[in-house]
Symmetry: C2
Subunit: 243 residues, 2 copies
DNA sequence: GAGTGGTCTAGACCACCCC
DNA sequence: GGGTGGTCTAGACCACTCT
């Protein structure tokens, strides 16, 4: 019935989903913002409320939007308490999950090597930042992270900014640089600790560590972070679920 | 109405979902079967087609049912080619995923110790089977599995049945014993290989291995399998995604 | 053509939140 | 009270599969 879009094989709600995503990419609504109500969006896109609803349902299922009855639909943010550890799958074997604290080891500028370039989908030699840090749980160092991000997206990043920020790294990226992480893929191996990392984690060199390689994506499935985490799993485990 | 201040309200589609799940538990429809059409179910439960649809949508999102346009809605089965490796998250770093082949090491009857009993939600001392096997990828042993299942659900299990079955273990459990695995939780650590496991996997003792502890559940979130996999990750990785 | 799931719409009403 | 999302319904039509 309606209207303008001509010979499109995609369901309407899928097109609406894409339009909403484009508004997110364009920054029309930022993490934490309310987006317009279903009725407003239905009017804007000239479809029924039910169709908008289905598009939003799909985005909510991907944790890109968050619905709150009576209040509205919000853009997911890593700054919200509820999702500050959304991507952290390491849990203590006993007791509850204290929020980890971060200790910055170094921030350096580098040129992308083959691996970084391929993971981040940039040219070899492109400028990247490399962040090294330790994550402490209850005062104990558990994870050694080495984080690579393209410098073009994080202009002006320096050590002080990182140290002065309270909150998760993704919350930092989001609020200071407008880069929102919405999805990640992880490849996990077991490796022996190098003497350097063993020293940081208070272990003997050669101890078994979990090596978690992550590529994180922002809106539109664009890779914007590659990190390698080395995790000490004597009293912690990497937890996941499947169905 | 509601007795407590907490939201006691259950949407209709949620009740329908529960009714459908109960039919699955009761075995009214078995893995691979078509379930009645949306219209038939709507008539049976005296609700609209849309409400049945929403219940089925939820079950399809959990991979419990599978919708096929023009054909009907089917109970998910591990015997289908599409889902025979649904729970296998280990992939080669290069090349494609050959289906693994399994080599049975032993099948023994045991009594549940504290750990098995707690994971499987049975009494300490209850009868359980313990299956040990190796998984080979392209002729190379990669995973050593130690699988515990309550013997009451698998009466008559013997080595010959396992050896003669072609297909995945979960397909075997499903078709021979009517036990369908629908969900699993995994806890992962890095450990050093024991001499026994190192021997099976062709490694030196002390080599780092991924230790994957899994509890698998059937309909109604009932735990029915506990396994410990030890995985050699030199050329393979455990892959997972998050959002 | 008949039957299935898939899309889209429109309207009524409910539950929740805030003014 | 008036806004938001959440549920439920009913009906029309589309896309796919099988006979």
């Amino acid at each position: 019935m309606s209207s303008i879009a001509a010979p499109n094989y995609r369901p309407l709600y899928d097109q609406i989903k894409i339009l909403i995503t484009q508004s997110l990419v364009a920054g029309e609504w930022k993490p934490g913002d309310v987006i317009p109500s279903e009725m407003e969006l239905a009017n804007r896109f000239q479809v029924s409320q039910g169709t908008v609803r289905k598009a939003i349902d799909a985005l909510a299922a991907e944790n890109i939007l968050i619905r709150r009855q009576g209040k509205g639909t919000f853009v997911a943010s890593h700054s919200q308490e509820r999702s500050s550890t959304r991507f952290l799958r390491v849990f203590p074997d006993t007791g509850t999950h204290d929020s980890p604290s971060s200790h910055l080891l170094s921030l350096t500028r580098e040129r992308a090597d083959d691996e970084s370039a391929s993971r981040l989908d940039v040219r070899v030699g492109a400028g990247i930042f490399c962040i090294k840090r330790l994550l402490f749980f209850g005062g104990v160092p558990v994870i050694h992270d080495e984080i690579h991000i393209p410098s073009i997206l994080f202009k002006g990043l320096d050590e002080g900014m990182i140290r002065n920020f309270t909150g998760s790294l993704y919350s930092f990226f989001e609020s200071r640089f407008g880069v929102a992480m919405i999805r990640a893929e992880e490849h996990i191996k077991a490796v022996a600790a190098s003497s350097e990392v063993a020293h940081h984690l208070g272990l003997s060199p050669g101890s078994p560590l979990l090596r978690v390689d992550r590529v994180a994506f922002t809106y539109g499935d664009k890779p914007v972070e590659w990190r390698r985490g080395l995790c000490h799993t004597n009293t912690f485990s990497y937890v996941t679920e499947m169905s």
